[in-house]
């Protein structure tokens, strides 16, 4: 196949994004959207909305009682019966925060200080109540695995700003309940797949030369490959894919030097590290991830997705049996790092063009599981966004008085995805890829309730 160089570059996710190529910007669209990149903070395992960003005084009032009337009809989850289980008051106080007075629970004392930056969407809903399908749904718009993820679509549309680094980077601790498909490229070319960055010297898989191979020896071997390839290419110059592979080795070599530099936190000041809670036992891990995210977006990475709680046996999902312990622990681990990220991005002038998204795969039941637990709850839950010029300090939508169902301004995952693409300057109806003769979209045939103009206060 004789792809042009331009095609190759855009396919390899390094060159011209499709936005530039095919005018995906809709004419009448908010010229105001400013997001050039996204940092997506994914709270893996399920954060309780009624204990964090969606206060429900009725739960305290009726603590220990079952739901009245038919409120529980039609809701199902794995472990509790909505008709019998009893309401559980939130053990945390909510504080009116910032000028705007948005209510945020005391699980997040640091994030509370950024209340005026947050646009809180309290009316998210979905229909998958197991982790893997719900994570797939949030990340790719489909409960089943195999579809391209949001990050893959975004980089497919935007292209890359730094050809020495991947455009879509993922950080987790490995044990994703959905598997790596949650950041896969599905039927899009593999170039758009999220690259997992690990902690340590070699963030990218196979980045380090093999054991015992010195840098000079590695360079010799690369030079041999290059010389053999150029001799081979000399009689096949019409084939740009061969040329692309020659460049891919140059790129791999540059990545070997640039990626370790990108993750080298020794270059950060003590103050910067303290801001993120690095070197503090509880916050060190997620703090490092957040600081890395900032270093990556500074270097032109388009989409950074951080998963908190992907250590086996250490995730938000411990709330099944222990709401108090799990949420105290997981919030403590991420509160200061998230706040530090917002502060740092703002002080560096990056927040104007960087969208920070916070979400989970679902919320948790307002009803108790056991004595001190909450089950999975996809029927109404909360996410928030900040940065990229959106108007913060506001709340969109609501759940009913018990926090069961999203009632006002209901937003499903497709509406959220349509909005995120729009904030990046892309029309979700036009960002398509032909697969099995269908023009596939991230939002499938949905996404009609996007809320970009609300976010931009336009």
């Amino acid at each position: 196949m004789y792809t042009s160089r331009r095609q190759f570059l855009s396919r390899a996710g390094q060159g011209f994004g499709l936005v530039a190529l095919s005018g995906l910007m809709q004419e009448n669209l908010l010229a105001a959207t400013k997001a050039k990149r996204i940092i997506y903070l994914f709270m893996h395992g399920g954060v309780s909305h009624v204990d964090t960003f969606d206060p429900k005084p009725a739960l305290a009032k009726y603590n220990g009682q079952p739901l009245p009337g038919s409120f529980g009809e039609g809701l199902v989850t794995s472990r509790i019966d909505f008709r019998k289980a009893r309401m559980l008051a939130s053990p945390w106080n909510f504080t009116r925060s910032g000028q705007s007075g948005i209510e945020i629970s005391d699980l997040y004392p640091h994030v509370q200080k950024h209340a005026d930056k947050l646009a809180v969407i309290r009316s998210c809903h979905g229909d998958a109540f197991d982790h893997a399908p719900a994570i797939n749904l949030r990340t790719s718009g489909n409960q089943f695995p195999g579809r391209p993820s949001l990050g893959a679509w975004a980089t497919y549309g935007l292209g890359s700003e730094n050809k020495n680094l991947p455009s879509f980077v993922v950080m987790s601790d490995g044990a994703m309940k959905s598997g790596a498909g949650a950041y896969g490229s599905g039927f899009l070319p593999a170039a758009y797949q999220g690259t997992a960055f690990r902690s340590g010297q070699n963030p990218v898989l196979h980045l380090a030369s093999p054991a015992g191979i010195t840098p000079e020896a590695q360079k010799e071997t690369l030079s041999l490959i290059d010389r053999m390839n150029r001799r081979h290419f000399a009689t096949r110059e019409e084939d740009s894919t061969l040329e692309a592979r020659i460049s891919s080795y140059e790129l791999a070599y540059r990545m070997q030097s640039e990626a370790p530099d990108a993750v080298d936190l020794t270059k950060e000041s003590a103050a910067a590290k303290a801001l993120y809670g690095i070197d503090e036992p509880m916050t060190d891990d997620f703090g490092r991830k957040c600081l890395l995210a900032r270093r990556l977006v500074e270097r032109g990475v388009r989409f950074v997705q951080l998963y908190q709680g992907t250590n086996l046996g250490d995730d938000w999902d411990d709330a099944h049996l222990d709401l108090l312990g799990s949420h105290n622990k997981m919030a403590k681990k991420s509160d200061q790092p998230i706040a530090g990220l917002l502060t740092d991005l703002a002080s560096r002038g990056l927040l104007d063009s960087t969208l920070v998204v916070w979400s989970s795969e679902f919320g948790r039941t307002p009803l108790a599981e056991g004595k001190n637990g909450r089950d999975h709850h996809p029927y109404g839950f909360t996410m928030w966004m900040a940065g990229a010029g959106i108007a913060g300090g506001r709340v969109l939508g609501s759940t009913d008085e018990f926090g069961l169902r999203a009632v006002e301004q209901r937003k499903d995952v497709h509406d959220v995805h349509a909005t995120l693409l729009r904030l990046l300057g892309m029309d979700h109806l036009k960002l398509t890829y032909r697969y099995q003769s269908r023009d596939m979209r991230l939002t499938d045939v949905h996404g009609e309730n996007e809320f970009t103009s609300w976010l931009m206060n336009a």
Binding site: D130, A175, G181, N202, L224, R245, S248, A252, Q436
Partner: protein
């Protein structure tokens, strides 16, 4: 062009190029181009089309440069496409379905008998050549010269075996003086069992095969590999395709032989979440969708998925048709084939007895252990800080958060390990423990998968009722697609154990008269050999498909395929013995400008090795490839950093196969987990096994280069190759490594390059062996190794 083709192609073009902005979803300028009425009605600018008059039609003017606005915005249509639309409008802009009825879409028509063009040209060896040459001449192109034998054997071996030739095989073929040396080569390759491993892989891609079922727990499909082996064996036996279809769709309803019933494993090797036992109705919807969508796209080349929610917008497939198909699969329940009846019964009996014995064995062990566990735990606890001891003594629900944290931190430390317990046992107890161990071992020493293969059957002679969503009063009877003339499927005769619906479906699809089955099958084989199908959308022959480049050739191939007994091996011969297949890859200057995608085949299209081929070729070169066939999936050892991302504890999810010689078997035998692909295969575009994959991507990424360059796998294989290449001086070593990797000697310049490289690397790394391994690692990464000319 016949009217039906003209109308179909024009409407397909509108759908491909225009309807994303002017269609059902989006109507820029208020214009829709997805029905004839909508086009005639037009948008804000007025009517878009005047039938018979292209120059008066706004639609035509904007695509042909006659207006300030040029459409489509993504770039002009090709001259051929402009001509197509002009002719279509001139002929009256007839919409295919109104013009001739749904049944007149070309691929829904019976395969027409076609004679190859009579061309007097020495280049024409086979009928395939005549069809191709006719089009080449029409386009002003000429065929490329024949490739040399080295190129041909490499091409043929990778296409049929998925493995490159060894240097000895190349030399033997180059020296073979027989006039039919090439024909003999193809026959020899087709007769080898390596063939089934390569073509089995192609089929497994289509049927979204995997060894686990996906989702969070990603549990093993313990017997899926029996179906994998069945597929490999079917290809090796050259099982007629009609039979292969029938065995997979309804082997249980048609055939007595267990080997044939194994085909129904087809239904069981996809992703599913049955293991969760929670959300049965969602599972059921997803499973039914998978059966309908996968079966339609694999066997019929139709994408019916759209019709699940509404009538298909482009193809004449109604929502009702979709649920008629679904009703065929609705009675399915999972089952298993007893490959050998008596052994299977015996196996079940043994398993049953074993479980009974285990219950008591475990009781005995626990009783012996209990007092020591209690003692050890108390001793360990006594050494912990007082507050932790209190935390342990407090009831779980009464613990404060601090106590909880303390409890969690020490819970594991306090739990006695088996070795600590065993050290305390009395001599009597020790001999008792030994007896327990011996009994356990004897219960398990012969433990192995039973003689079963996964399969399906029906729940009974009456299927559960099927309704369209929202129309629960109207039961939908099972039946075939109306556009293909399908009627209802009758109820089974009295006494039938199953509904016989799948039997009816299988016999309908596998009929020699079915318009799609043979066309779709030959087109897939064509794609595998030539890089692109005659119909480029190999799993879609509907209205949105790419029109066939060589419609007559497709007809001829489909007819010939059926006439020769649906034999894939005959089909390979037909394609590979042609002059078209034997061309060089070098395009002429004319080809580069007139046909950059090489759809007219004026030369051979180079391809990159597929993921499995890359790995297998490295193993073959290193001399470590274990040729063993069949059996349980192999779990090779991977580096810790490669196992990142697993959703389950590694001790359960990546149980490395204990026999290391298994680790270097062919890639088709490596485990394919749905939640985790082996990184080297993943970066080279191995599909996830979730959706049917009709054509693999062939991407080029830096992570690919990093993996092939730096992985333990490459390095270890390079070292293995080096160890067997250390005879003689640097020239001899260079030659040996070149022969093993590229199956040729280095030329004079390369020899200089390689010797200098060895000298330099020996200095840097301290040994010739390490230097030779670097030479091998380098050559594994060259384009010559990774591409097929």
């Amino acid at each position: 062009m016949p009217a039906a083709d003209l109308n179909g192609s024009a409407v397909a073009l509108l759908s491909q190029k225009c309807q994303s902005c002017h269609g059902a979803q989006v109507q820029l300028s208020g214009l829709r181009l997805d029905t004839r009425e909508a086009i005639l009605h037009g948008g804000k600018q007025g009517p878009a089309l005047t039938p018979g008059k292209p120059q008066d039609s706004l639609l035509f003017r904007v695509i042909s440069g006659g207006e300030k606005v040029a459409m489509p915005p993504t770039g002009p249509l090709s001259p051929a496409e402009v001509t197509l639309l002009r002719e279509w409008i001139t002929a009256g802009a007839i919409w295919p379905t109104e013009a001739v009825g749904a049944k007149k879409w070309w691929s829904f028509e019976k395969v027409k008998p076609v004679k190859p063009p009579a061309l007097a040209d020495a280049w024409v060896r086979t009928p395939v050549d005549a069809f191709i040459l006719q089009q080449l001449r029409a386009k002003g192109l000429s065929a490329a010269p024949e490739a040399d034998r080295r190129t041909l054997i490499r091409r043929a071996m990778l296409d049929l075996h998925g493995l490159p030739p060894t240097s000895a095989e190349v030399a033997a073929f180059e020296k073979d003086p027989a006039p039919d040396a090439y024909e003999k080569l193809i026959d020899r390759l087709l007769a080898s069992t390596r063939y089934g491993e390569k073509w089995g892989k192609n089929w497994l891609d289509l049927v979204r095969y995997g060894d686990t079922s996906g989702f969070e727990q990603d549990p093993y499909l313990l017997y899926a590999w029996r179906y994998r082996d069945y597929v490999i064996d079917s290809f090796n036996a050259d099982k007629p395709y009609d039979r292969f279809v029938k065995e997979q769709l309804a082997g249980d309803e048609i055939y007595e032989e267990p080997a044939a019933q194994q085909g129904t494993g087809y239904y069981t090797v996809g992703p599913n979440r049955d293991m969760l036992f929670k959300v049965e109705d969602i599972n059921r919807v997803e499973t039914m969708t998978d059966f309908v969508d996968t079966t339609s796209s694999v066997f019929l080349g139709l994408t019916v998925g759209c019709a699940r929610c509404h009538d298909h917008k482009y193809d004449p497939i109604s929502q009702k048709d979709y649920f008629r198909l679904q009703a065929i699969f609705a009675p399915i329940v999972k089952s298993r084939v007893f490959l050998t009846y008596n052994l299977a019964r015996q196996y079940d009996l043994q398993e049953n007895t074993r479980q009974w014995k285990l219950y008591d064995l475990a009781d005995e062990f626990q009783r012996m252990r209990a007092p020591y566990v209690k003692r050890l735990r108390a001793e360990k606890l006594a050494q912990l800080p007082k507050d932790i001891q209190v935390a342990f003594e407090t009831e779980e629900e009464q613990r404060t958060p601090q106590q909880k944290a303390g409890f969690e931190m020490y819970a594991k430390k306090v739990a006695p390990r088996d070795d600590e317990v065993f050290a305390l046992l009395s001599p009597d107890e020790k001999s008792m423990l030994d007896r327990v161990k011996t009994r356990l071992l004897s219960l398990y020493s012969n433990y192995a998968p039973g003689p079963f293969s996964p399969s399906v059957t029906d729940s009974g002679p009456l299927g559960p009722p099927v309704y369209m969503p929202g129309k629960e009063s109207d039961e939908i009877p099972p039946g075939f697609l109306s556009a293909l003339g399908g009627g209802d499927i009758p109820a089974p005769p009295p006494g039938s154990a199953t509904t016989l619906r799948r039997k009816a479906l299988a016999e309908w699809i596998a009929s020699p008269d079915h318009p799609l089955t043979a066309r779709v099958a030959v087109n897939r084989v064509w794609q595998a050999h030539f890089g692109r199908g005659l119909v480029a959308t190999t799993s879609d022959f509907g209205a949105r498909s790419t029109p066939p480049t060589h419609p007559e050739l497709l007809e001829w191939l489909a007819g010939d395929f059926v006439a020769k007994g649906w034999s894939f091996k005959q089909l390979h011969r037909t394609l590979m013995l042609s002059s078209v297949y034997r061309q060089q890859t070098k395009p002429s200057p004319a080809a580069l400008t007139k046909d950059p995608e090489n759809q007219w085949l004026s030369h051979f299209t180079r391809r990159r090795l597929e993921a499995e081929e890359v790995r297998d070729a490295v193993l073959l070169s290193a001399g470590t490839l274990n040729p063993k066939m069949h059996g349980k999936p192999v779990v090779p050892a991977l580096a810790a950093e490669e196992l990142y991302g697993m959703s389950q504890p590694l001790g359960n999810a990546w149980v490395v196969t204990s026999d290391p010689t298994e680790h270097t078997r062919r890639s088709i035998y490596m485990i394919s987990r749905r939640n985790f692909r082996m990184p080297l295969l993943e970066v080279f575009d191995r599909p996830e096994g979730v959706l049917s994959c009709a054509r693999r991507e062939s991407s080029t990424t830096p992570t690919q280069s990093l993996s092939l360059l730096n992985s333990d796998f490459t390095r270890n294989q390079a070292l293995a190759l080096a160890a067997s290449s250390l005879r003689g001086d640097e020239a001899a070593i260079s030659e040996a490594v070149f022969l093993s990797t590229l199956a040729r000697r280095p030329d004079a310049n390369e020899l200089i390059l390689a010797r200098e490289f060895l000298t330099k690397q020996t200095q840097l790394l301290g040994s010739v062996e390490k230097a030779a391994a670097e030479l091998a690692r380098g050559l594994f990464n060259t384009n010559e190794f990774l591409y097929v000319d």
